[in-house]
């Protein structure tokens, strides 16, 4: 079922953050941020990674650009294992994979103009020697900005322009793989669509591969071919996006889809929204992570991890309900 043109493959990724306590600052526990993230992304494809706050989706993104070290699991890029690369290999990898953060203002140095930020990146990687400025200009055009924006400080740009500038900077290293961590969450609704369109357009032109991390299902539907749903650091369902919207199998996915607001006051929605508290990330999962809040919970859910069930081409679910059917 998997194909040769897979660019990124993540297997059983885990990340536990230690909690320090006491006078001696000893490890007293862990935050189980990511328990099991597994997925693959083909070249030129967009994979949506969806989950609520605290589901570990951002941590997965940060691990993929090596800002965090995973506690367990493996990452393959172009079929080579990059889980523990360092030094020059890491620098090489950083030219290929780039991350766009949610807050473009915070991700730009407030004391550097856009020009300095972009040119610095090219200089570090020794790209376009002597032609840095012209290339910065080209990048600006690519993302729909103009030369005058190069001379601005981040605070002199609007939110959308800033995100475009951040994208331009990421493209300066000529990456293949972009991790978009809630790229539009901090923008106005009108600007969100523009930025998404820009990302789509860039992908069509230059065949970039995207991992889109978001909590916004509308964004996923708009831009990604396949989607992974995460809950409490664990993937619960993965499927082509269209199929997911039509026949989601996991109760959590179903609840998510039902909680998307419909802009029509006449429509009466049935009230199956998720009840209960969000999970506590400091206790390890035993059984299904969603068991505490699942309306269809069974005894087995609480004690045993559901097996992965394949229910169609590239559609997999991790749920006892599906297993029992």
């Amino acid at each position: 079922m998997e194909h040769d043109d897979i660019l990124v493959k993540v297997e059983n990724l885990k990340k536990y953050f230690p909690i320090y306590g006491g006078i001696l600052q000893r490890v007293v526990g862990y935050i189980y941020a990511v328990e099991d993230a597994s997925f693959y992304i083909r070249k030129g494809e967009t994979l949506g990674l969806v989950g609520e706050s605290g589901s570990g989706k951002t941590t997965v993104g940060r691990i993929l650009v090596k800002l965090e070290e995973p506690t367990g699991g493996k990452i393959f890029y172009n079929s080579s294992d990059i889980t523990n690369i360092k030094g020059s290999e890491l620098k090489k990898y950083r030219r290929k994979a780039q991350i766009i953060f949610q807050d473009p203002y915070a991700s730009l140095n407030p004391r550097m103009t856009i020009k300095d930020s972009i040119i610095e990146v090219m200089k570090v990687h020794r790209l376009h020697k002597g032609e840095e400025y012209n290339n910065a200009l080209k990048l600006m055009e690519k993302v729909g900005l103009s030369e005058e924006h190069l001379y601005r400080f981040p605070h002199e740009l609007s939110g959308g322009q800033r995100q475009r500038a951040v994208i331009a900077r990421a493209l300066a290293v000529e990456p293949e793989f972009l991790i978009l961590d809630e790229p539009t969450a901090s923008l106005d609704v009108s600007v969100q669509a523009q930025v998404l369109d820009l990302l789509k357009e860039l992908q069509e032109k230059y065949n970039y591969t995207y991992l889109l991390i978001t909590h916004n299902l509308a964004v996923v539907r708009y831009i990604s071919e396949r989607t992974v749903i995460m809950y409490r650091g664990m993937w619960v369902e993965t499927s082509p996006t269209k199929e997911l919207f039509n026949k989601a199998e996991h109760p959590y996915t179903q609840a998510l889809l039902k909680s998307v607001p419909i802009p029509d006051p006449e429509v009466k929605k049935d009230k199956f929204l998720i009840s209960g508290e969000p999970p506590n990330p400091t206790t390890p999962v035993k059984g299904c992570p969603f068991a505490d809040r699942c309306p269809y919970v069974m005894d087995i859910c609480k004690n045993e991890m559901p097996p992965v069930e394949s229910i169609g081409d590239e559609h997999k679910v991790r749920c006892w309900l599906v297993n029992k059917k």
Partner: protein, 290 residues
């Protein structure tokens, strides 16, 4: 290819920065004071008699201000105005040097402490805690008393007392800056650690220190004069404001001008630096600059 004229932009920015700086009348006043004392410090010995402090003329002692001696004379009959003009060099240079050295040491140690973290940070910070535990002026007194009375020892004592504050602030600044998203972004862009520290963390962390240091020049000047006043300054024949105040203290009721005019010099000079520090903050921040 270039359509935007970079020079024009830079000129505009500098112009705007100057305008921001000059917008505040107090800041302009402060800079005028500082410029005035700087000129005195540099050209003082050429304007007045450089040997005045050695020319004792007891027949002229304790003369009140007259046209001939505008600020009057001290207990040794020396012209006070000339002594104060000459004193500017010592007081200005010791405050500048102390602040510069202390900033340099403090910023270096603070950056290392903040960026390295862990055990290194712990050791450095506990050491500064020990130094900070002593009241500054008393500590400086102790050091000069132990080392002996001289200009160099005064400088050493004040520097030793002053750098800890900068180290603390710099460490805090670096700690908060290095967690910011733009540093993470720089890391993920493959920018090497030393460049991140020098080009990203450092410039963003240093500005509050620059403002503080400018204001501190006045503070150091007061402390230097204070130490000198209690007899821990340079040799008695070095013209220095604190020492002149000390001389005047003995004659406060018969010749108050001996104390008054050097005191005024210390006060206005330190005030000047304080006022500049205020304006500097506006100019150094690009968010306020354009």
């Amino acid at each position: 290819m270039k359509k935007v004229n970079e020079w024009e932009l830079k000129k505009k920015e500098v112009g705007y920065a100057l305008w921001l700086f000059s917008r505040n009348k107090l800041v302009v006043f402060g800079s005028l004071i500082v410029v005035f004392y700087t000129i005195l410090a540099i050209f003082g010995p050429f304007i007045v008699n450089p040997k005045i402090s050695e020319q004792v003329d007891l027949s002229n002692a304790l003369k009140p201000p007259t046209l001939q001696h505008i600020f009057g004379t001290d207990d040794l009959g020396r012209d006070l105005l000339q002594l104060i003009v000459l004193g500017a060099r010592f007081d200005m240079s010791i405050s500048l040097m102390v602040v510069l050295t202390a900033t340099l040491i403090g910023v270096t140690i603070g950056s290392i402490s903040g960026y390295a973290g862990g055990k290194v940070d712990e050791i450095i910070m506990r050491f500064t805690d020990i130094l900070l535990a002593f009241p500054g002026l008393v500590f400086a007194m102790g050091i000069t008393m132990a080392l002996g009375r001289s200009a160099v020892n005064l400088f050493l004592a004040l520097t030793l007392v002053w750098w800890t504050g900068y180290a603390r602030i710099m460490r805090g600044q670096v700690l908060s800056e290095k967690e910011k998203l733009y540093v993470q972004a720089a890391k993920s862009l493959g920018i090497p650690d030393f460049l991140i520290l020098f080009k990203h963390v450092f410039p963003n962390a240093i500005y509050p220190i620059l403002v503080l240091a400018t204001m501190d020049i006045g503070g150091v000047m007061l402390s230097a004069a204070g130490l000198s006043f209690i007899g821990l300054g340079p040799s008695p024949f070095e013209p220095e404001w604190g020492q002149l105040i000390n001389r005047g203290a003995s004659y406060l009721f018969i010749a108050p001008w001996i104390m008054f005019f050097p005191g005024l010099a210390v006060l206005t000079a330190s005030l000047g630096f304080n006022l500049i520090g205020d304006g500097l903050r506006d100019v150094l921040d690009p968010r306020l600059r354009r």
